[in-house]
């Protein structure tokens, strides 16, 4: 399957390991991702003001371009996914906004004909989890993985239709397909604090701390996520917890494609573990899942 690919700002800067592991793994899984030419910011936040279309200009441009290429659009960052998918729905349903946007940008009118998919959805669409299971060379046996969904992937559920917002299972399916064990932890769909980290560290602290502790209580070896923002908030909070709370045992946080890369038998060096704030390699080594790599 061929898709247009929208990486989003962070994947080309702070989270190159995410981008690299997506590219290397999707190649194995026959998911062809063609990066959009000169893409720009997704808009970062879906605008909730109904009388202003300005916030939709940026996502509309990306969507319109992907449609010109004739492909459905795949993205991975939860925030990008949220903004792009909701914008796609808005322009499909609201002719007035659509006309306004295309006139403003002087482009052909686009009415939401293409689909916006998260990489996980793109996998699910074509029995991807079955294929992953088949192509898994190095099943991550005994590795307890806590899937952290966050909120932007799931809500608003009637618009995103990603999964059951209260009891999602797509990450669990993914974890199963790479041979690991999914840890059921109660805070897997709570908000990490999101953009509030810019204005109030204190509020994010509470939100992220409960997520980390809840995963830790359920004895997770690793937390996976698909969202650079969640990653940032959780990692930052973990740094603080390490300093302040001597009872807390830090848990490596990874992007799901990093584990996928390992399971598909790629070299440890290409999984990008060295860029994670907490190195996952010691725990992977102790489980006998890797033999090399400095740790």
């Amino acid at each position: 399957m061929k898709y247009s690919y929208f990486p989003g700002c962070t994947l080309h800067t702070q989270t190159k390991n995410f981008n690299d592991s997506i590219k290397s793994t999707s190649a194995i899984l026959d998911i062809e991702l063609e990066e959009l030419k000169d893409w720009q910011c997704c808009g970062a936040v879906y605008p909730l003001t109904t009388d202003s279309a300005m916030g939709l200009v940026s996502p509309y441009r990306s969507l319109q371009k992907a449609h010109e290429c004739g492909n459905n659009l795949v993205t991975v960052c939860s925030a990008c996914y949220n903004v792009l998918k909701r914008t796609n729905l808005t322009v499909a349903n609201d002719g007035e906004i659509r006309t306004k946007l295309s006139n403003y940008m002087d482009v052909d009118e686009y009415a939401g004909e293409s689909k916006v998919l998260h990489l996980l959805e793109a996998m699910r669409e074509n029995n991807g989890f079955g294929i992953i299971k088949e192509k898994t060379i190095n099943p991550l046996k005994g590795l307890k993985v806590a899937p952290y969904y966050g909120c932007l992937l799931l809500r608003p559920s009637k618009e995103l239709k990603f999964d059951d917002p209260e009891n999602p299972t797509i990450f669990e399916e993914f974890i199963k397909s790479i041979g690991a064990v999914a840890v059921d932890f109660p805070n897997r769909i709570e908000c990490c604090g999101a953009y509030v980290s810019i204005t109030s560290q204190r509020k994010v602290k509470g939100a992220s701390e409960s997520i980390l502790k809840s995963a830790s209580n359920r004895e997770a070896d690793i937390i996976i996520t698909s969202c650079p923002l969640c990653y940032h908030n959780l990692a930052k909070e973990q740094e603080r917890l390490e300093k302040d709370d001597y009872t807390f045992k830090p848990i490596p946080i990874l992007y799901f494609t990093q584990l996928l890369a390992l399971a598909l038998g790629l070299e440890v060096e290409s999984c990008g573990f060295e860029s994670n704030k907490i190195d996952a390699r010691p725990i992977l080594k102790s489980k006998g899942l890797i033999y090399r790599g400095d740790a």
Partner: protein, 659 residues
């Protein structure tokens, strides 16, 4: 040309403030065919009706138009007045200048023009109207009640007491419905069985009631006063006539299975009766669980039965009954917990629903009335009750209020506190809706005397941790997030219609709303009738409601049936379809279109010159026809016509409006 009178009603200020009624009647005076036109303040008043009568007689009018409110309101009033003056009532037509004109417009000038146009169109219609005469239809004075819960039983007993035969059909092997499963009832805390069993016993022994349990209505045809229904009697594998109810079979049966009656809280034997006071007190074999049906061996029940009444080879049979009226009392179910993923989606044994709590609190339940949690049988020290679990929730597509939950949750919390004095009961609520006699006082008693903690807010999540259920919620009055560790969580899940209600609705041709509750004919004025004549509604089949309300509505439905049966024959509306056999080509395109199955083919003999030929035409069953007019639209030759709304009349109306 006919002499037509026009009466324009002011309806106080309702019409006259937006429509210039004086101008309208003046203008109509000069309209061709109009012999008399006037306006009056309240035509529906006694003097107003007198005016109409007098005018008809004095002027020898041959048709009248009353421009007033909707024909739903006063058509019958004015038709009766005309009849009293010697005019055929079907020569009276109403122009709706209130709901369709004055109430929906604000510009007086335009509204007046519209009203005049509409009245003129109606005058044209009346010019073409004919005398119509109602027909008498025979009536079978026997009622079918579907559902043997408290509503169905109430209807059955009332009608039976009035002296008419009743057939009570219940899908379960015993009657009593959901009420039989309840422990105590609000707001008096009297035990549900104590007030229900006298009713069930009376239904069981009443000479006018034929009880058909373990049965379902599968087909219905005919029309009001004369229905024919087919009832499927499912096999019980026990000859209930022979059986003496000794229950030795139940005692000795080696196979235990889950009991539907206990809602997963308790077990029953493969051959058993659901509960000790069941009526009829006869056992039934669960075909899916019975060892004999699975392996061909066992037959323990056959060995112990003293009267030899076990019949493994029993088959289902269909019985046909002729009846005059149907009362639908098919009851309710609860939204499955599996739909509520935030509360564990049925994952945790100790998250139960209201009905399950009723069973563990019931003296005849699996714990003999001691409130124990299902997972390990411990007596819970802390219970959290979550109201509006699924109800009033657009996300769950159940935006309605289930009405009974506020009260039964207060009752549950109270029953628990009466047993476990040092336990804590916490209730999360959105609003407390305790409208009913003694209801608010009951809730206050729970809060003040029994110290039940009421927190206003929703619960975000329930999960298990270290053998406890952690409930995360919010108290919106203090704006605090709350975390409560509970031993048991009780969900007041949404009331939904019985699973088979939709299919039953299709069988009986009665409409249901978006959620599957049966639609009443009018939400305020005809709450116990359905849109299908002769089919009445009672209890939770129509909407969620509590026992007192159910009983009152059921009594109302029974009264409707008794009123219907008090006459020796029924009178049909003559405004039904009729076929012009001369031009009907017998194509029968109308037959599948008719929603009431009132059209059938008929062979008639026609004389052409000297020969007599046989020819097929459509014919109408005037009892079944409801006058919807669908056939007249579908008819290619124009042979089908609706009396009172003939093609000719409607065309004249359109001409007056558009040309």
């Amino acid at each position: 040309m006919k002499k037509i009178g026009v009466f324009v009603c002011w309806c106080g200020l309702n019409i006259s403030s937006t429509v210039d009624v004086g101008k309208a009647s003046e203008e109509l005076k000069n309209y061709p065919g109009v012999f008399y036109a006037d306006d009056y303040k309240y035509l529906c008043s006694d003097p107003g009706q007198e005016l109409i009568k007098k005018t008809i007689i004095d002027n020898k009018l041959e048709g009248i138009v009353v421009a007033a409110c909707s024909p739903n309101m006063h058509e019958s009033t004015f038709r009766a007045a005309a009849e009293a003056a010697g005019l055929n009532p079907y020569r009276v037509e109403i122009t709706n200048i209130r709901e369709q004109t004055s109430w929906v417009h604000s510009n007086k000038e335009d509204a007046t023009i519209k009203a005049i146009q509409l009245i003129k169109a109606t005058v044209e219609k009346v010019k073409k109207s004919e005398d119509l005469f109602p027909q008498q239809i025979p009536l079978t004075k026997k009622v079918l009640v579907i559902g043997g819960g408290i509503s169905g039983m109430t209807v059955a007993l009332e009608v039976a007491e009035a002296g008419y035969p009743v057939i009570l059909v219940e899908k379960e092997p015993q009657i009593g419905g959901n009420m039989a499963k309840l422990s105590e009832t609000f707001p008096t805390l009297d035990c549900a069985s104590c007030i229900l069993t006298p009713k069930t016993a009376e239904v069981g022994r009443h000479s006018n009631i034929t009880l058909m349990t373990n049965s379902e209505v599968v087909e219905s045809s005919g029309y009001f006063g004369n229905f024919t229904v087919k009832i499927k009697r499912k096999p019980t594998f026990v000859d209930w006539e022979k059986c003496i109810g000794c229950m030795l079979c139940q005692e000795k049966c080696p196979k235990k299975t889950n009991s539907d009656f206990e809602h997963g809280m308790g077990k029953r034997k493969a051959i058993s009766v659901a509960f000790p006071q069941a009526i009829p007190y006869r056992p039934i074999i669960n075909e899916k669980e019975c060892i004999y049906f699975k392996t061909g061996k066992c037959k323990m029940c056959v060995k112990v039965c003293p009267v030899d009444c076990i019949e493994f080879e029993q088959l289902e049979n269909i019985v046909e009954e002729n009846i005059g009226a149907i009362v639908v009392a098919s009851g309710y179910e609860l939204l499955p917990k599996e739909k509520l993923s935030e509360y564990g989606q049925g994952k945790y044994a100790d998250v139960i629903d209201g009905m399950q709590f009723e069973r563990i609190a019931s003296a005849s339940g699996p714990t003999e009335g001691v409130i124990r949690r299902p997972s390990d049988g411990k007596i819970p020290q802390s219970i959290v009750f979550i109201q509006c679990a699924g109800s009033r929730d657009n996300q769950k597509d159940r935006p309605y209020c289930s009405k009974i939950c506020c009260m039964y949750t207060a009752k549950h919390a109270m029953l628990y506190k009466h047993q476990v004095h040092d336990g804590t009961a916490t209730v999360f609520y959105m609003d407390i809706r305790a409208g009913g006699k003694g209801y608010e006082e009951f809730v206050q008693r729970a809060i003040e005397d029994d110290h039940v903690l009421y927190l206003r807010g929703r619960v975000a999540r329930v999960y298990e941790e270290d053998g406890k259920l952690v409930v995360l919620g919010v108290d919106t009055l203090s704006s605090e997030q709350v975390r409560i560790e509970a031993d048991l969580v009780v969900l007041a899940t949404a009331v939904i219609p019985s699973e088979k209600a939709k299919v039953l609705g299709q069988t009986l041709k009665v409409g249901t709303d978006a959620y599957g509750f049966f639609n009443e004919a009018h939400p305020k004025l005809r709450p116990v009738e359905s849109m299908t004549k002769g089919v009445f509604l009672a209890g939770c089949a129509q909407a969620p409601r509590d026992i007192p309300e159910t009983v009152s509505q059921a009594t109302g439905a029974a009264a409707k049936v008794i009123t219907m049966f008090s006459k020796n024959h029924l009178v049909s509306d003559p405004q039904v379809a009729k076929v012009n056999e001369k031009i009907c080509v017998g194509c029968l395109q109308c037959e599948p279109i008719c929603p009431y199955k009132a059209i059938e083919p008929e062979t008639i003999e026609v004389r052409i010159g000297h020969t007599v030929e046989k020819r097929q035409v459509a014919t109408i069953n005037k009892g079944l026809c409801q006058g919807c007019g669908a056939c007249s639209v579908a008819c290619r030759s124009g042979a089908m016509n609706l009396s009172g709304f003939s093609n000719e009349q409607i065309l004249e109306e359109l001409k007056a409006l558009c040309l």
